[in-house]
């Protein structure tokens, strides 16, 4: 039937819901793996989050993170999971742009592109 192939708001939301779930599942798996490695590597040490020092520069940028990941740093694995998690809602907005374009709803393509632009601006500003 034709209407089963067509994309309406209801179907779009179902796909978005799945997209978000898969993203969270993936991110959680990476964070969990990184967490185990992290505990194993720091088993003897004492934590102190009382004083704020900020994370080392390598953990704050994508390039630095990639370099750390190559050395098998557990903290870097967790941060990759965190980035995957942040990327999940962004992917939802990207999907909305595509979805509204398929629905030929120009107004909401513009609305979703605006949201995407704001998200991108914050990400680019922070890199």
């Amino acid at each position: 039937m034709a209407h089963r192939l067509a994309l309406d708001d209801q179907r779009m939301e179902t796909i978005m819901g799945r997209l978000l779930q898969v993203g969270v599942l993936l991110a959680s798996a990476v964070v969990l793996a990184g967490g185990f490695l992290y505990i194993r590597a720091h088993l003897g040490s004492i934590v102190n989050y009382r004083t704020f020092a900020g994370e080392p520069a390598a953990l704050r940028s994508v390039r630095g993170l990639f370099r750390l990941l190559m050395t098998g740093d557990p903290a870097a694995v967790i941060q990759v999971g965190v980035i995957l998690l942040i990327a999940t809602p962004v992917a939802r907005v990207v999907f909305a742009v595509v979805g509204f374009a398929l629905e030929r709803d120009k107004l909401y393509v513009a609305v979703s592109v605006t949201v995407l632009a704001v998200l991108m601006a914050s990400l680019i500003y922070s890199i």
């Binding site: 959680s28 720091h42 900020g54 704050r60 941060q79 809602p89 914050s122």
Partner: protein, 294 residues
């Protein structure tokens, strides 16, 4: 190191990694569970838990909380969608306001003294406690006036009613709702919470969107709002991997468990307990912020 509240609880500031991780995971699980059962979200109790009980610097707490907020919003998404209430258009339209607000909030957070952050958080907690107290008696408002922009912006929609039919609705006071959403985004970016209560307030009370549509659409919006400020926090070094991982996994597990238990739970009792807890935490955060202990 300052030890002002250094009784038994003070020792939680310096623990071996494994113990600390397990305690934070358990605390986050409880926060996520209560947050899901009461509909207030885990972040609102998580940040005071980390700062007041575990003596974590409020900036680390906000960073970890924000990450957990994205996880819970996205993790619960499919369940909400199945109900068929949420509106992708209203959500996307209002996300313009919440994302810009979130960036503004994160910008403010990196410039505000931590004691001001603490006091602001305390005030938000007291307000949440008050809202939670009144929750049982919300009015089902009859939409009398309708903004002409509701149709022009294609915000009008419908949702399934109990008899299997469709119940249509229109949206009122769009600019006021939009402005409130900017405020919700700012709070989210500033304090690392989902600010679901403010989002529902903007949609349900101001824009007169049906309650079920408001709450489910709010859940969808929370993740996108939080993502807008998460990059800034990550870049500023507020997201510590060792803290973020038990918090994120704990809150996520707790909220998924909470969603399952919701059917059988004694929500009114839980809500009363939760109200007292956040009231106490709110007062504690204001006092701590006031005397500069955060």
């Amino acid at each position: 190191m300052r030890r002002i509240s250094g009784f038994a609880i003070g020792h939680l500031a310096a623990l071996p990694v494994l113990t600390f991780t397990l305690l934070v995971f358990a605390g986050s699980l409880a926060a996520g569970l209560l947050g899901a059962l009461t509909g207030l979200g885990g972040g609102v109790v998580l940040v005071p838990l980390l700062t007041v009980v575990f003596h974590v610097d409020i900036r680390y707490a906000i960073g970890a909380s924000l990450i957990s907020v994205i996880a819970t919003s996205s993790g619960a998404a499919a369940a909400y969608v199945r109900e068929g209430f949420s509106s992708v258009r209203i959500g996307m339209f209002l996300e313009i306001a919440t994302t810009i607000g979130a960036i503004f909030g994160a910008f403010l957070a990196t410039r505000m003294p931590t004691r001001v952050l603490g006091i602001t958080f305390g005030v938000v907690l007291l307000y949440s406690a008050w809202l939670s107290w009144r929750q049982t008696r919300f009015h089902e408002s009859e939409a009398v006036r309708v903004s002409p922009w509701s149709d022009r912006l294609r915000l009008s929609g419908s949702y399934p009613d109990r008899s299997g039919g469709e119940c249509s609705y229109k949206v009122d006071r769009i600019s006021a709702g939009f402005a409130t959403m900017f405020g919700a985004g700012t709070l989210s970016g500033l304090l690392g919470i989902g600010s679901g209560a403010v989002k529902v307030l903007a949609m349900d009370r101001i824009m007169r969107i049906p309650f079920k549509v408001s709450t489910t659409t709010s859940n969808f919006m929370i993740g996108v709002t939080a993502a807008a400020s998460a990059g800034i926090y990550l870049h500023r070094g507020y997201v510590d991997p060792g803290l973020a991982f038990p918090v994120m996994l704990g809150v996520l597990a707790g909220s998924l468990l909470g969603a399952k238990l919701l059917v059988r739970a004694q929500v009114s009792l839980l809500r009363s307990i939760f109200t007292v807890v956040i009231l106490a935490l709110g007062v504690e955060m204001i006092v701590n912020g006031w005397v500069g202990r955060l």
